[in-house]
Amino acid sequence: MTQLLQQIINGLSLGSIYALIALGYTMVYGILKLINFAHGEVFMVGAYTGYYSAGALGISAYEAQHRDFPVYLGLIVLVTAMATAALLGVLIELLAYRPVRNAPRLTPLITAIGVSLFLQNAGMLLFSPNPQRYPAILSEVRFEFFGVIVTNIKLTIFVVALCLMLGLHLFVQKTWTGRAMRALSFNIDAAKLMGIDTDNVIRSTFAVGSALAAAGGILFGLDQITINPLMGVLTGLKAFVAAVLGGIGSIPGAVVGGLLIGLAEQLTAGYLSAEYRDAITFVILILILLLKPEGLLGVVRVEKV
């Protein structure tokens, strides 16, 4: 029983990270109908930006086991990483995706795969392929309830992820840009006719999605101890599956999907076999696409001739 609870807690914390990344996929897909394969790499760059900026602020991996760093330093790291990733997201959109935006749908897909490959390999050159120990932005405190262990890191993940998701919700529902994003995902041509600067809105979508992925990257680093330049590949795919599972284009759907994928993965690894922890994600993907392609919380849209 304690084991099950422990697996569930671990699964949920992993799932909240997936959810943060899935938001970026779902927003971009909702508007451009593009699977932004490079999103996983933006997540990776976000994690590395956090790694280096923490280093620049004097937060190192070793000392932190015995020393507390003030919370505002952690926030600086978070904001730096989010800003850098947002910039990267906008750059990718500008240089790689905008030129092919009106090409047949598969052209941007291949471009996205290319960008993803490029960033992976550039990451290996810049950051070295060796896994790096993530700086201890938080010093670890463990709480034990009836044998179930929860660390302050897990709690931080839940809190930060929740805050960001609420913030995104407010952004999308209450601000002008958010409303424009929803208009674009409903019908991009009509939105253009209404005088919305679509380029600008798409740019903000990439910026917001990338910033969330970077936050996910930092939480991932804290939780998973090490980061490496290929960390975005599988994590990105899983987050994409989470977005599809929840219903692509749906923000609450991405959150639900992320949590479910995290749980499924953790339970498979714990009770079935860890060899199949990656396979289970793809099995879920295939099942959902075959049985309910609009996803759990998605809206059915009839394809018009």
Binding site: T111, L125, D278, F282, L285
Partner: protein, 335 residues
């Protein structure tokens, strides 16, 4: 009757030419270059097969490495089981080897085709990028299954019981005989009634359906054929490498195949042939660059997509290019 004779004569002539070229290649090139030539041939089979589904039919598979893996493992396993039987029945000469090798290749193609059918039947209802992601998922699942299959050597890979590996049956002759066969088959299919229906599906699936084209059946068939050709390539690859290992069929391999067909031009058979050769040669030429190699490879992919998304040839065939120069007629309409 006369036509049959003529065809038989052409068939024999082509085999002879391939055989001659093979002899010349073995005499004139180092083993290193010979390997690149073989690899290029295998790539051509992969590209031409993938082009049928991605180019001609307009469906998108980015998990074809999975089918190649099924073919490679299937051919390797069947080959190892079959060899003693063939030796008993036909002796240990070249005939027996050729027999068991080609039977093994066909078995690999059968396995790959069947798995293509299993994957295609449910997932071809999906369109465009969703289909792409499902094929990616299947490709990964197939690789993970092989990685955990202990009777197939798990992560070390499968190479029979002899540590020196599977017999090196993959020669110039066999690779290019299969290349010729598959190119002709796919070419005839593409320019047949069925091929036109496939193109119709690519251009407008709903309109094709309205014209009573059995879209689902055609898509699944094309997918299975495409998977089977990848299986042949896998079997040839296994017997060139003297073994198969799961890590050779990662997502990167599927990307290589995508690069092959988009460099040459999606939907063009001659383009796929050029692309297959291009990937084999360019990856080799860039080997000196070490850590920078894959960065450049990725950049190349991006730049092609932005600057010339239709690839070198677009949907045209190489011979149509020359015809245009002569006649000056529109190409798309000449189809």
């Amino acid at each position: 009757m006369k036509r049959t004779l003529l065809r038989a004569a052409i068939f024999v002539a082509v085999l002879l030419v391939i055989y001659g070229l093979g002899v010349a290649c073995e005499a004139g090139f180092t083993e290193y270059v010979q390997r690149i030539v073989l690899l290029a041939g295998i790539n051509v089979i992969l590209a031409v097969g993938l082009n049928l589904i991605n180019g001609t039919t307009g469906q998108f598979s980015i998990g074809h490495a999975g089918f190649m893996a099924v073919g490679a493992y299937g051919a390797a396993y069947v080959g190892v089981q079959l060899a003693p039987v063939a030796h008993r029945a036909l002796g240990t000469g070249a005939v027996s080897n050729a027999f068991s090798f080609n039977l093994a290749l066909l078995a690999g193609a059968l396995f790959a085709g069947l798995s293509g059918l299993i994957v295609g039947l449910p997932s071809l209802r999906l369109r465009g990028d969703y289909l792409a992601v499902v094929t990616l998922g299947f490709g990964e699942i197939i690789r993970i299954l092989f990685n955990n299959a202990t009777f197939l050597g798990a992560a070390t890979g499968y190479f029979g019981d002899d540590p020196s590996g599977l017999p090196a049956y993959t020669t110039f002759f066999w690779v290019y005989a299969w290349v010729a066969l598959i190119v002709v088959l796919i070419h005839n299919l593409t320019f047949s009634q069925t091929g036109r229906s496939l193109t119709a599906i690519r251009e407008d699936e709903i309109a094709a359906e309205a014209m009573a084209t059995p879209t689902t059946r055609l898509k699944v068939t094309a997918f299975a054929i495409s998977a089977a050709t990848a299986g042949i390539a896998g079997g040839l690859f296994a017997h060139m490498q003297a073994g198969v290992r799961p890590e050779d069929f990662r997502f990167e391999k599927s990307i290589d195949m995508i690069v092959m067909i988009i460099v040459g031009g999606l939907g063009s058979i001659s383009g796929a042939i050029l692309g297959g050769i291009f990937v084999a040669v360019s990856l080799e030429l860039m080997r000196d660059l070490q850590q920078y190699r894959l960065v450049l490879y990725a950049l190349l992919l991006i730049v092609i997509m932005i600057v010339r998304p239709q690839g070198l040839l677009g949907r045209r065939e190489l011979y149509q290019l020359f015809r245009k120069r002569k006649a000056g007629s529109g190409l798309e309409s000449s189809r």
